[in-house]
Structures are given as structure tokens and as C-alpha cells.
Amino acid sequence: MTSGSHNAAAGRTGWTRRRLPRPIGVVLGAVVTLGLTFLGLLTVTFFIGRVVPIDPVLAAVGDHASATAYERARVELGLNLPLWQQFLVYVKNAAVGDFGESVLTANPVFEDIKRVFPATLELATLGTILGVLFGIPMGVIAAVHKGRWPDQLVRVFGLLGYSVPVFWLGLIGLLLFYAKLDWVAGPGRLDIAYDYIVDPVTGMLLIDSLIAGEMEVFANACSHIALPAIILGYFSLAYISRMTRSFMLEQLGQEYITTARVKGLSETRVIWGHALGNVMVPLVTVIALSYASLLEGSVLTEIVFAWPGLGQYITNSLLQADMNAVLGGTVVVGTVFISLNLLSDLLYRLLDPRAK
């Protein structure tokens, strides 16, 4: 599902004429791809969901229910039907956006996701922005100073971010910045005192509070999101900086760089303009994938920070065998991956002169 080769344009600076592909063809292609991918996704998750050795009726009625209550719930959940029939019913409903009701929350799955996804989206977006803002420059600096101390420093810093478990980092972060230093607010999205002030519009508190003009709520939400966002940002920074470094090294060894230098261009221009310009193409894919993986919901981060996001929702549903919720959540994650891939494809075409 990745978009093409990571080998950036070689021997050219990339500043040639941009040509957009025919829009209709792209849209049609995208729709077909989307449809097929979704069908595959639904099929696989549905059947995995049915072969796991967990009785889904238990999620609905619990362990103490009588035999009649149990049997009725089984029928209500449609589990008495043959498997293929269950699947058809499911696909038919999913096609019109009805993922059924979550057994655990008593809400339609769609409503649940509408509630939990914005929390994850807010966090993942901030995390990715931080990761990009710091990760790319760090990667470039590391590549330019390959083998010297700035490179080592970036490597160690990145390695830490990549290998230290988010769970632990989160707890230590809370301990230091929340409990000890009091720089940030604690777990959760908002202080109790600010509950029920802002009406949910987008579900993203930072945006909703701005819409409502409640600056105090906005500040409190910022204080709550800062630490988890920085931790996710660190994680994505580690990945992005390492990838940037390796892409940059590849570019810096190319002849066109030597040519540019010979032409007397400043080193800044050569590195940040020419080399980085070409690196942007594969980097878009890297960033998109890193963003998508954060949008799945970083379960451990969400647990430590009591962040009511998609990751906790899907994990919890999975453990309780709430299959409607799991399937609904999976479709959302699938949509995120597919659309980010489409987006990076599109950007790829925009950025890479050779992709026509």
C-alpha cells in the first residue's frame, strides 16, 4: 500500500513543470481501490472476529445470566444465523454506514467513533506536527554532519524515542512535569471545573473552545494535551529524523549536489533547497504512515493519560469481544490508512516531476 519507490529523483533538481493527472481517472481508480480494499478489510476482520475462541454473547449478558436470557441475546445479535448469512447482513449494513450497536456502550458504533476519534485526531495531529517540525531539521543536520557529534547526538536522541516504551515515558513525564514541576495538567482532556462549558462541535477541544471563544478552556485543554502530544511527537520525531537522515545521505552523494556546489551555490541553498527538496517526496510517505499509525490510537499513551481515544476504544472492545465495535473501529483505521495513502500519492505526484 505504499506509494511507489522511495528512491527520489536522481540527477535532477526537481524544479520542472508540474502536471496534474487527469482528475476523473484518479477519482475512479481511487473509488475502485477503496471499495476493494474495504471489502477485503471487512472480510478478514469479520472472519477473524468469528474464529477467536471468545463467546460474543458473554459481552452482552455477562457470566451470571440465565439460559433463556443468554439464548435471546444470541438471537438478537444474529449469532444463530449461518456464518455466511451473518457476513452478508454485516456487509449490507456497513455499506450504508451502519455498523450496528456496540454491546458495551449501548450506542451505535458510529456515534461512539464520532466521540472517540476526534480525541485521537487532535492528539495525533499535534504529535505529527511536532515530529515533522523537529524531526526533519534534526535528520538533515545529522546527515550533513555524518559521523560527527551532532549526528551521534541525534542518533542517540532518536533511538531513545524509538526504543523506550511510550508507557514508561508517559509515566515518567507525568511524574516530572505534572506531579513534581507542575508545568502541565494531569491525565484527561480537561479539568473537571471546565466540563460542560464548551459544546462539542468538532469534538476536538482545542478547536471547539476557540470556536466558543472560551480562552480559559482552550488554555486548560492545551495544558492537558501538551505532554501526551510531546511524547507522541517524540516517537514520531525519532522515526522521521532517522528516515530523513538516510534519504539526505543518499541525495548528498548524488552528482547534482556536486554540480550545485561547483556552480557556487551557498551550502545552505544546496542542502535545504536542493537536497531536501528531493527528499520531500519519499518523506511525505514516511510522514503519512507515521501519522496514520498515530491515528490508530496509541493505546498505551491513551491509557497512561486517560485519553478517551480510538485506541482504547478498539482495544477494550476487542478484549470484550464486542465485534460490532471492533469492526467499526477497524474500518475507520482502514479508511485513515487508505485516505492518507491516497493523499500521499497525490502529493507525490505534485512533488515529483517524473510521476505523471
Binding site: 451470571h64 458495551l104 449501548a106 507525568l174 506531579a179
Partner: protein, 527 residues
């Protein structure tokens, strides 16, 4: 790995003394809890710990009992009651002047409707009522309202407290008939609506439930009983205990409800925090499947009861969270047996195994849910079993997964926890000591069935106990039943659960009751 790092983080907390703490609002009680078990807010369906606690604080029942002495039953919605001479008809006089939050007056009609509704909906806890012979068909005929009187007619003469205790259960909560029926869809008696809404009359009312996130209750300012001091109660879902501890020490919550043994140990010496506990009804036990050729030998069952390090488990793994208990009725119940005849005794177990013709032990598996406490208990049991030559293989699994296997009788040994459904002794006798039909397609599948323990005699004794009208006599019957059960049953009852809360010292009055729906907020105050 995760546990190890968690421990490291907790160790790091040792140097942590919160700089300054943000206080919660004075009129709001804020708790950190694990509330992902709530799957419904309809009292006719609620059967989960957190859900029961919600209903206990938001709905009134006909009667209640003292949390310190459950034998003292008092009227709540019912002002008084009496039982007919033939012992089958119970009449309740409804207290005048109670209003639902909707403004509708609470009448005998609402009380009758609530019980009928629970029986007709027939959700998981419905058996608590239907065991008295009520069916969706006859509910309206057996449970009737007339003026301010509610009449309930049972199919047999039962011990009076049996029905009374069942009427204190969550399923017997009184709901607002008008309000509920206004939201009826396709004859569902308002069930779909009430799953996420509220129609009660008690001290607190529902403000908002966001699943896996927060449950907020507001004070019911029109409440007819003792008015709570707190205007609002916020229960936040914080699944990570280390996070709960941080929030508590920092003062962002008043009470932490789900701390592990290590967090509790870490709080010792913190003068801002008070730790309190109360005995709960749940028991931890091993279920030995009688389909297994070794476990079905009486001497083997007996031997295994001498191969558990009860003391060690109580004082380390379950420190502060459970006490040794070896009978199926938990302390606090009528007729509970408190004798603990078993302790770790390898020599005795070995001789019993030799008697059974298994001097070198045998191989057996145990399905173990992968939570820290259960896993550690299983490991302790594995090591003590090994001392008598029994090779125990632990099969870890997610809770629902191990339970699915257990319910299908496909286990050898299952390490489980069982909580009573209502305050009458029959609740546990019914499942541990009754098995009316041991066939694979039996209609009723109690714990005795799950372990394939065929006990026609004991089933009769348990049935007799539920019909005995004299309380003292009845208690004796349960004691006798448990003494026999303790020795011969395929259940190794090990511990009784304790609920622990950690609260900031300025918060007082949270009531830890014996059942999960007895945890009450109305007396909470904050200085």
C-alpha cells in the same frame, strides 16, 4: 516487560512529593475508577459492578438493609410490609410524597411496573425475580398495584428474607413508568432509551455517561430522603492504577478506587491520604472439572485443598485485597461458615494422593485469566502443587476467553472469582451447591454444572434451605451444607475479596457497603 517498567516508574515515584496540589471543587466529589464494565444504565439489565454502584446511588428500591448488619431490613419506597399467613403473598404500602426527577409522583403502580418490566424484558439479572415463579406471561397477574399498595404473590412458600433480599437488588429499582413508557419503541418498555438515560428518584441523578470516559451524577435537589452534601459526583475512567495514584497525590481526584497492592504500599506514610477497606461478597476459588479422571477422585479433590498456600497468597499477592475464606457463602451472609480447615500441608496431600493411587502425582492444566493478581496466584499454586508431584500447566488467556472455555466445561482447573447476585444465601448455594441436571445440554448451568459435579442429594438440601421460613433454622441448614461442601466439593474456595479505597483526608463519608450497589456517596463531605 510492561510490568517491570511500571515497577521502575513506581520506584521513581518514591522521591516524588507533589509540589502543590490543585484542589477539586468543594461541592464535587471526583473519583478515579475503572468503569469500562458499565454496558447499560437500565436497572432491569444492569449486572456489572460499576453499573450496580450507579443504580445504588440513583434509584430507590422498595426496601434496603443496613450496610453494617445486613440482617436489618428497612423500608425505603415501601413504608411498611407484611406477609400473608400462607406465606405466599407479600404486600407493601408505598411511602407517600416521593417524586421522580421528572416531577411525576412515585406510586404503587410504578413499583409494580418496574418489577413486571424487569421480568418481561428478561435480561441477564431477571432470574433474581423469576425464581419466584414469575414469567413474562403471569407477571401482571402476580404483581399488582392497588391504590398505595403493592402485592406480590410467589409460586411457593419461601423463606421470607429470600424475596425481601431479592427486592433489595439492583433489578428491583423503581423506575418512572410515565417517563419510561413515553420513550417506548416497538414494545421495548423504554429499554433502548433507558440504557443510556435516567428515570429514578434517589439521592443522585444522571448528568452524563460517556462510556469508558466519565460518569457524572448531579444531586437530586428534590430528593425525599437525606440530602447529599455534594452537588456533583464525577467518576473518571482511569484504567492505569499508577495514573490514579498520581492524580490522588496531586489532589486532582478525591478518591482512587482501583489501586494495586504496590500503589497502596507506596501511599503508606503519606499523611494526605487515608486508605480504607470493606469486605465484599466475591470469593476466589478453583473449579476442578469432574470430567478429568484425576480430579474426579475424592482424595485428589481433598489433596488439592491442602496444596494451596492460603496464608502466603493472602499476605503477599492479595495483601489488603482479600482474606482467607474457605466456604461458598461469604462472611456477612446469613449462615456463612467461617471455619478454615485447610492450610498448606504437603505431607497430608501426598498421603491422600497415594490413597488415590497417584503417589507420583499427575499432569493437569489450569485456565488462568491474564490479570496480574490471578496470574500470580496461579503461579503460587503451581509451585505448591509441584511439591506433591502435580505438574500444573498454566494456560493464560484473556478473561472472556478463559470464561468461554470454562462455560463449555472444557477446562481441567479454572481459577475464578464469583460475586453474589443478591444478599440472600441462596445466591451462592444456587450455583456452588445445586446442579439439577448434569447433562451437556442442561437448561441451567450453575458452577457445579460447569465442573460436571453431579449432586442430586445436595441439590435437594439446597432447595430445602430456601423454603425454610425460620431464619435461625435456615442458617443452620446452610452451615451444614457448607461443611459438607467444603470437604467433598470440587471447589477449592480460597479467599474473600476486600474492596480498598484511597481517599484524600479532607474527603469523608464514602460508604463501602458489602455489595457493589451498597457503595454510597450521599454522606460524603469535604472540608
Amino acid at each position: 516487560m510492561r510490568r517491570l517498567l511500571g515497577a521502575a516508574a513506581i520506584a521513581a515515584m518514591a522521591w516524588n512529593t507533589p509540589a502543590a496540589f490543585a484542589e477539586t471543587p468543594k461541592d464535587t466529589l471526583v473519583m478515579a475508577h475503572v468503569i469500562d464494565d458499565i454496558i447499560t444504565l437500565d436497572p432491569a439489565e444492569i449486572f456489572e459492578f460499576s453499573g450496580a454502584e450507579y443504580a445504588g446511588n440513583t434509584y430507590d428500591r422498595l426496601i434496603g438493609y443496613e450496610v453494617d448488619d445486613v440482617s436489618k431490613i428497612f423500608g425505603v419506597v415501601a413504608e411498611s410490609w407484611n406477609i400473608s399467613d400462607d406465606g405466599k403473598t407479600y404486600t407493601f404500602k408505598i411511602r407517600p410524597g416521593i417524586k421522580f426527577v421528572s416531577g411525576n409522583p412515585l406510586t404503587a403502580e410504578d413499583a409494580a411496573f418496574s418489577l413486571q418490566r424487569a421480568i418481561i424484558l428478561d435480561k441477564s439479572p431477571a432470574f433474581i425475580l423469576t425464581q419466584f415463579g414469575f414469567t413474562p406471561e403471569n407477571a401482571k397477574e402476580k404483581i399488582k398495584a392497588d391504590g398505595d399498595v403493592l402485592t406480590i404473590e410467589t409460586d411457593q412458600v419461601y423463606a421470607p428474607t429470600f424475596l425481601l433480599y431479592c427486592l433489595t437488588a439492583t433489578i428491583s429499582s423503581v423506575v418512572d413508568k410515565k417517563e419510561v413508557m413515553a420513550h417506548e419503541e416497538d414494545g421495548d418498555l423504554g429499554h433502548k432509551w433507558l440504557r443510556t438515560a435516567y428515570a429514578g428518584s434517589s439521592a443522585f441523578k444522571l448528568r452524563q455517561w460517556k462510556a469508558n470516559e466519565v460518569l457524572t451524577l448531579d444531586r437530586n435537589d428534590d430528593y425525599w430522603g437525606e440530602m447529599p452534601v455534594m452537588k456533583r459526583v464525577v467518576i473518571r475512567h482511569i484504567s492505569e492504577p499508577a495514573t490514579q495514584r498520581l492524580l490522588l497525590e496531586k489532589g486532582d481526584i478525591d478518591i482512587a478506587r482501583k489501586l494495586g497492592a504496590d500503589q497502596l504500599a507506596g501511599l503508606e506514610g503519606n499523611t494526605d491520604i487515608r486508605v480504607r477497606q470493606g469486605e465484599k461478597g466475591a470469593v476466589y476459588y478453583l473449579g476442578l472439572n469432574q470430567k478429568n479422571e484425576y480430579l474426579s477422585k475424592p482424595q485428589v479433590r481433598q489433596a488439592l485443598k491442602y496444596l494451596v498456600d492460603y496464608k502466603g497468597i493472602e499476605q503477599t499477592i492479595m495483601k489488603g485485597k482479600a482474606t482467607i475464606h474457605q466456604a461458598f457463602l461469604p462472611k456477612g451472609f446469613l449462615g456463612a461458615l467461617t471455619e478454615t480447615p485447610f492450610s498448606l500441608d504437603i505431607a497430608k496431600a501426598k498421603s491422600l494422593l497415594a490413597e488415590a493411587g497417584l503417589p507420583d502425582g499427575f499432569n493437569v492444566t489450569m485456565d488462568t485469566r491474564n490479570t496480574a493478581e490471578i496470574t500470580e496466584m496461579a503461579q503460587s499454586i503451581q509451585s505448591t502443587f509441584a511439591q506433591a508431584g502435580i505438574k500444573l500447566e498454566i494456560i493464560p488467556g484473556d478473561g472472556k476467553q478463559t470464561l468461554t472455555k470454562y462455560r463449555a466445561r472444557n477446562h481441567d482447573i479454572y481459577i475464578g472469582r464469583w460475586g453474589p447476585d443478591y444478599q440472600d444465601p441462596h445466591t451462592n448455594a444456587d450455583t456452588f451447591a445445586r446442579n439439577p441436571d448434569n447433562s451437556d445440554d442442561a437448561k441451567s448451568k450453575p458452577l457445579a454444572w460447569r465442573n460436571a459435579w453431579d449432586i442430586p442429594e445436595m441439590t435437594k438440601n439446597a432447595d430445602a434451605a430456601v423454603l425454610e421460613r425460620d431464619a435461625a433454622e435456615r442458617a443452620k441448614m446452610y452451615i451444614a451444607l457448607q461443611r459438607e461442601h467444603q470437604q467433598v466439593s470440587p471447589f477449592v474456595v480460597m479467599l474473600q475479596e476486600i474492596e480498598v479505597i484511597a481517599e484524600r483526608v479532607n474527603s469523608k463519608g464514602f460508604i463501602i457497603g458489602p455489595a457493589f450497589d451498597d457503595n454510597r456517596y450521599y454522606k460524603v463531605t469535604k472540608d
